[in-house]
C-alpha cells in the first residue's frame, strides 16, 4: 500500500473562497461573544425600569448609574485587556487613593500648580504599573499574587507618606476652573465629565484590541503565552505596557475624583478591585485569558452600574444589591460560557463536498 499512496495525486481545491455576505446573519450575531452580556444588560435595565419607577430612567437617574459606570469603565477596560492577555491587576484598588493623595498633597497641601499634581499622579500610575509588569515577567509569580503585593504595599505607602507629608489621611484640593472642567465637573449639574473620558478610552482600547497588531498579540498571549513568544511576539513588552495602562487609568480615576470632590482620602477605591473584575467577567472576558471584547466589557460595566445604582430607585432595601450582583455574576458567566461554546461549535451550512 505504501507506493500506492505515494503516487496518488492529492486533490487540491483551488476555488476562491466564497464571497462573504455583507448582511450579518442571525447565526453570526449569536456567535458574537457579546450577546450574553447584551442580554444581561437589557434584562437588568428592563427590571429596574419597571421596579425603579420613572425616576430611574430620568436624566438624574441615568446620570447616577452612568457616572458610576464611567469611573468603573475607565478602569475595567485596561483591566479587561490584561485579563484577555491572561493577567490580573488588583493593585488598581490602591492606585486610586494613591493618585488622589498625590495630586491633593502636591497641589493642595503644597499649593503647587494643578498641572504638576496631575502629571505626578499619572506618572505614579505608570510607575506602579511598570513595577508590577516587571515583577510579573521577572519572577514568573502569577500576577494575582504580584499585584496583591503591590496593592498592599502601595496602600501602606500612601497611608504612611500622607501622614508624614500632610499629617492627615484626608487632604483638601482646590483646583482651578480649567482642571475642574476637564477632569472633575458635572455637566448640566448631573453628568460627570469622566463620561467623555470613558468614551474616549473605549474608542482607544477598541481600536487597540480589534484593529491593531498589538490587539492580536494580546489575544495570542492569553491563549498560549509560550506559543505567542515563539511566534515572535514581544510578550514581555506587551505585559509591561498592559500593566502600565491599567496603572495609568486607575491613576486617572483617582486624580479626577480628587478634582471632582475637592479632596482626597487615603481609604478610597478598594471597591474598584472586585468591581472591575466583575464588570469584565460579566462582559464575557475569559478569566484565564485569550477571549473577550471591548463591547462586552462596556456592557458588563453598564450592567454592574445599573444594578449598583438601580437598587436605590426601587422600594427594596439597598442591602440586597450585592446579592443581586452575586447572582448576576454567576448567571452572566454561565450564559457567556454557553455563547462561547456556541461560537466554537458553530459550523457553516452544509455544502456539497468537494472531495469524497
Amino acid at each position: 500500500m505504501t507506493s500506492q499512496a505515494h503516487d496518488q495525486p492529492a486533490v487540491v481545491a483551488t476555488a476562491p473562497p466564497a464571497p462573504h455576505s455583507s448582511m450579518p446573519s442571525i447565526g453570526s450575531l449569536v456567535r458574537r461573544p457579546e450577546v450574553g452580556s447584551l442580554i444581561g444588560m437589557i434584562a437588568v435595565l428592563v427590571f429596574f425600569s419597571i421596579f425603579g419607577g420613572a425616576n430611574f430612567m430620568s436624566a438624574g437617574g441615568s446620570a447616577s448609574w452612568l457616572n458610576v459606570a464611567s469611573e468603573l469603565g475607565i478602569i475595567a477596560l485596561p483591566v479587561g485587556l490584561l485579563m484577555i492577555a491572561g493577567h490580573l491587576d488588583l493593585s488598581v484598588g490602591s492606585m486610586i487613593p494613591a493618585s488622589s493623595m498625590t495630586i491633593a498633597i502636591i497641589s493642595g497641601h503644597y499649593d503647587l500648580p494643578i498641572i504638576v499634581g496631575i502629571l505626578a499622579a499619572l506618572s505614579l500610575g505608570l510607575a506602579v504599573g511598570f513595577i508590577s509588569g516587571v515583577l510579573v515577567i521577572r519572577t514568573k509569580v502569577p500576577s494575582f499574587v504580584v499585584t496583591l503585593a503591590t496593592l498592599f504595599a502601595l496602600a501602606g505607602l500612601t497611608l504612611g507618606l500622607s501622614i508624614i507629608l500632610s499629617g492627615s489621611t484626608s487632604v483638601a484640593l482646590k483646583s482651578g476652573p480649567v482642571a475642574k472642567l476637564v477632569f472633575g465637573d458635572y455637566l448640566g449639574g448631573k453628568f460627570q465629565v469622566t463620561l467623555f473620558w470613558w468614551i474616549a478610552i473605549v474608542l482607544i482600547v477598541g481600536f487597540i484590541l480589534n484593529f491593531s497588531r498589538f490587539g492580536n498579540w494580546i489575544l495570542a498571549m492569553g491563549g498560549d503565552a509560550v506559543s505567542a513568544r515563539n511566534a515572535g511576539i514581544p510578550t514581555d513588552r506587551v505585559t509591561i505596557a498592559l500593566f502600565m495602562s491599567s496603572g495609568l487609568c486607575a491613576a486617572f480615576v483617582g486624580m479626577s475624583q480628587a478634582i471632582l470632590y475637592n479632596s482626597a482620602q487615603v481609604a478610597a477605591g478598594q471597591s474598584f478591585i472586585f468591581n472591575s473584575i466583575i464588570a469584565v467577567v460579566i462582559g464575557g472576558v475569559l478569566l484565564t485569558g485569550g477571549y473577550g471584547s471591548v463591547v462586552g466589557i462596556v456592557l458588563g460595566t453598564l450592567t454592574f452600574a445599573i444594578v449598583n445604582q438601580g437598587i436605590f430607585y426601587t422600594g427594596f432595601d439597598a442591602n440586597w444589591a450585592s446579592l443581586i450582583i452575586g447572582v448576576l455574576l454567576l448567571a452572566a458567566v454561565l450564559m457567556n460560557n454557553t455563547f462561547r461554546t456556541m461560537a466554537l461549535t458553530y459550523s457553516p451550512r452544509a455544502k456539497p463536498r468537494a472531495r469524497s
Binding site: 500500500m1 505504501t2 499512496a5 505515494h6 496518488q8 492529492a10 486533490v11 487540491v12 481545491a13 483551488t14 476555488a15 476562491p16 473562497p17 466564497a18 462573504h20 481600536f207 480589534n210 484593529f211 491593531s212 497588531r213 490587539g215 492580536n216 498579540w217 489575544l219 495570542a220 491563549g223 498560549d224 506559543s227 505567542a228 513568544r229 515563539n230 511566534a231 515572535g232 511576539i233 475569559l286 485569550g290 477571549y291 462561547r340 461560537a343 466554537l344 461549535t345 458553530y346 459550523s347 457553516p348 455544502k351 463536498r353 468537494a354 472531495r355
Partner: protein, 274 residues
C-alpha cells in the same frame, strides 16, 4: 549526492546526569519525508526540541545547507526556516482562523493616519492556504480555531508553516489524536508539503502512517538511533519489532506462553507464584 538540507552529526543531550540522546546523526533532504519512530520516552521529543531551538545539544553539530548552525531560541530556529507543528496544531482555540494564522506577523494596511490589522486580507490568505491543502469546509476566516476538527487544525498549522516559507517542517505526532479519515487527510497534506520541496520530519509511533508517507526512517530506542533505513528496506513487522525493542517483546511472549501452560491460562492464586 547533494548536500542534505539539515544534517545532525553526533548529537548528544543530557539533562544533568541523565543522558537523553546519545550520538544521533541524521540527514534530511529537500522534498523528503523523514519518519522518526520510537516508543514513548525514546527521546523523540528531546530531539524535536533541539531541532526547534527549545534545547541546545550538549555536544554535536547541526548543519543547514552545509553551514553549521546553532539555535538560541525557537524564534532563531524558525528564522532558519524550521517550523514545528505540535499534536494539537492551533494553539489559540479562541482566536479566529485569520488572526491565529498570522500571529506575530499580522498583515496591516493604512487607514487614514493609522496602520491597522488587515483582517480581510488575513482571512482571505488563511482560507486560501487551507483550501490549497484540501480543507474546503472552511470559507470564513472569522471562525474560531477551536471550532475546527483535529485534522483541520493540523492543516491550519501546516498551511501557516508553508505560507511563511518553512523549509523544514517538523510534525510532532500529527495523526496521534485523529480518527482514521482525518489521519489520512493529514498524511495527504504531508505529501503535498513534500512535493513543494519541503523537508518533512514526521514523528509518530504509528508504523502504518510512517510507511505510507516516509522516504527515510530512523528508529530511536532509549536515546540512541537503533536503525536508519530507506523506504522498502524493512517490512512493517520488522519495524514494529524494532520499535518495541524486538528481543524484549519475544521474551515477554515466551514468558506468557510458559505461564499459560503451567496455570491453564488462569491467574495464579496467592503464594503460588513460581
Amino acid at each position: 549526492m547533494t548536500t542534505p538540507l539539515l544534517r545532525l552529526t553526533g548529537i548528544n543531550k543530557s539533562f544533568g546526569p541523565i543522558d537523553v540522546l546519545h550520538d544521533i546523526s541524521l540527514e534530511v533532504n529537500r522534498g523528503e519525508v523523514l519518519c522518526l519512530l520510537g516508543d514513548n520516552g525514546a527521546g523523540k521529543s528531546t530531539l524535536i526540541k533541539i531541532l526547534s531551538g527549545v534545547h541546545k545539544p550538549t555536544s554535536g553539530r547541526m548543519e543547514m545547507d552545509g553551514k553549521s548552525v546553532e539555535f538560541g531560541s525557537p524564534r532563531d530556529a524558525s528564522d532558519h526556516g524550521i517550523a514545528t507543528v505540535h499534536q494539537f496544531g492551533g494553539t489559540f482555540p479562541l482566536m479566529s482562523i485569520g488572526r491565529s494564522f498570522f500571529v506575530g506577523a499580522e498583515p496591516t494596511r493604512r487607514w487614514g493616519p493609522l496602520t491597522i490589522y488587515d483582517r480581510k486580507r488575513a482571512n482571505e490568505i488563511a482560507v486560501t492556504e487551507m483550501r490549497q491543502l484540501g480543507i474546503t469546509r472552511i470559507d470564513d476566516g472569522d471562525r474560531l480555531v477551536g471550532g475546527l476538527s483535529g485534522g483541520e487544525r493540523q492543516a491550519l498549522a501546516i498551511a501557516r508553516a508553508v505560507h511563511f516559507g518553512a523549509s523544514v517542517l517538523i510534525l510532532d505526532e500529527p495523526t496521534a489524536a485523529l480518527g482514521v479519515k482525518e489521519a489520512a487527510h493529514v498524511l495527504r497534506i504531508v505529501l503535498q508539503a513534500r512535493r513543494k520541496g519541503i523537508a518533512v520530519i514526521f514523528i509518530t509511533h504509528n508504523v502504518v502512517h510512517a510507511l505510507t508517507v516516509g522516504d527515510h526512517f530512523a528508529v530511536l530506542i532509549r536515546g540512541s538511533k537503533a536503525a536508519d533505513f530507506r523506504k522498502g528496506e524493512k517490512s512493517r513487522e520488522a519495524i514494529t519489532d524494532l520499535m518495541a525493542g524486538g528481543e524484549q517483546m519475544a521474551e515477554l511472549e515466551a514468558e506468557i506462553e510458559r505461564f499459560s501452560a503451567t496455570n491453564d491460562g488462569h491467574a495464579p492464586r496467592d503464594g503460588e507464584h513460581p
